[in-house]
């Protein structure tokens, strides 16, 4: 382990801006991509469900009704 202290680690020998700037942006982008990708599926499912309801193919409308009556 070559770091004397945590503060030395964060200073990165004076290159903090460059190193953490690189890592920060990279992980920010990765996080953003993950959020977008995972949200996209939920949105797609919601959109498709709305679409199925609109074209009246939603068999589940009936199942729901049955479940309520139970």
């Amino acid at each position: 382990m070559q770091w004397e202290s945590w503060s030395a680690f964060w200073e990165m020998g004076g290159a903090a801006g460059f190193v953490w700037g690189s890592y920060g942006v990279t992980f920010l982008l990765v996080a953003l991509e993950l959020v977008l990708v995972l949200r996209r599926r939920k949105e797609a499912v919601r959109k498709l469900l709305r679409w199925r309801r609109a074209i009246g193919k939603d068999r589940n409308g009936r199942t729901d009704a049955r479940m309520e009556s139970q």
């Binding site: 460059f18 690189s22 499912v45 498709l48 729901d64």
Partner: protein
């Protein structure tokens, strides 16, 4: 032929139906692998690898810079490969794959540029020089953006698939041409005042960190692409019965939870 037979023969794309659940099952494993490898790579990079004699600590950017640069190039090749498969075999899944790869490739491309620029300022004194490798990386970003912009601009998915495939292939033919032309262009003007190959010979721990991070990038890419492919499959196969059944199930689950 009975009506129901006909209904089934209407939509006979078996592959997506198989691939969809498979992707859903595999993706978390790759994501976990990526997380573990990233942690290992960061530990190697920050706590095991020694300070560089000439550059000091700045060089630690290398652990994302190089894997990102590699990934951006690999991903373009894979993208073009799937595009070609799609055009030849006329399978929708291949087109979907190539479109799902593009954003991640563009992301890595941008990361390589960004980290390189931040690295360049302390080492070369400028964020950017028109070096051959840098320039071809920039053009690669444009190729990615063009592909994404084109496929997004076309609403009809079938047309978007094919048009995107054509531009991906044309781009793939051009990547080597660009690379060599840029190299030649640059060496004609200025002696290699800056050159990446002059980078310090690496300690083995550095190399190990870099390789582990590259593997992490691979695992991450696979996970993200599998996740991105799933909703794309759903949207395109929405007329099929299996998607219908799946959606019904999904909405019951939601209804049940509510």
């Amino acid at each position: 032929m009975t009506p129901s037979d006909r209904g089934r023969s209407l939509f006979r794309f078996a592959a997506p139906q198989v691939f969809y659940p498979l992707a859903g099952r595999l993706a978390p494993w790759f994501a976990a692998l990526a997380a573990v490898l990233t942690l290992a790579g960061l530990w190697l990079g920050f706590f095991v690898a020694p300070t560089d004699a000439t550059q000091g600590e700045v060089y630690r950017v290398i652990f994302i810079h190089v894997p990102a640069a590699w990934m951006s190039m690999f991903i373009y090749l894979i993208m073009a490969f799937w595009a070609a498969v799609g055009l030849v075999m006329n399978t929708r899944l291949s087109f979907i794959m190539s479109q799902a790869l593009a954003p991640t490739g563009a992301m890595f491309c941008f990361v390589a540029l960004w980290t390189g620029a931040l690295w360049g300022k302390p080492t070369w004194g400028a964020y950017w020089v028109w070096d051959a490798r840098l320039t071809s990386q920039l053009l690669l970003l444009f190729l990615y953006l063009g592909f994404i912009a084109l496929t997004r601009a076309i609403e009809d998915p079938r047309r978007a698939d094919r048009a995107g495939a054509i531009i991906a292939l044309v781009g793939a033919v051009n990547v080597p041409i660009i690379y060599f032309s840029v190299q030649w262009w640059n060496t004609l003007h200025q002696g290699a005042s800056v050159s990446l190959t002059k980078a310090p010979s690496m300690a083995t721990t550095m190399l190990a960190g870099m390789l582990v991070m590259a593997l992490a990038a691979w695992a991450y890419t696979i996970a993200v692409v599998l996740w991105r492919v799933r909703p794309m499959i759903l949207e395109r196969e929405r007329h099929t019965e299996w998607v219908g059944a799946l959606l019904d199930q999904e909405s019951t689950e939601r209804g049940g939870r509510a």
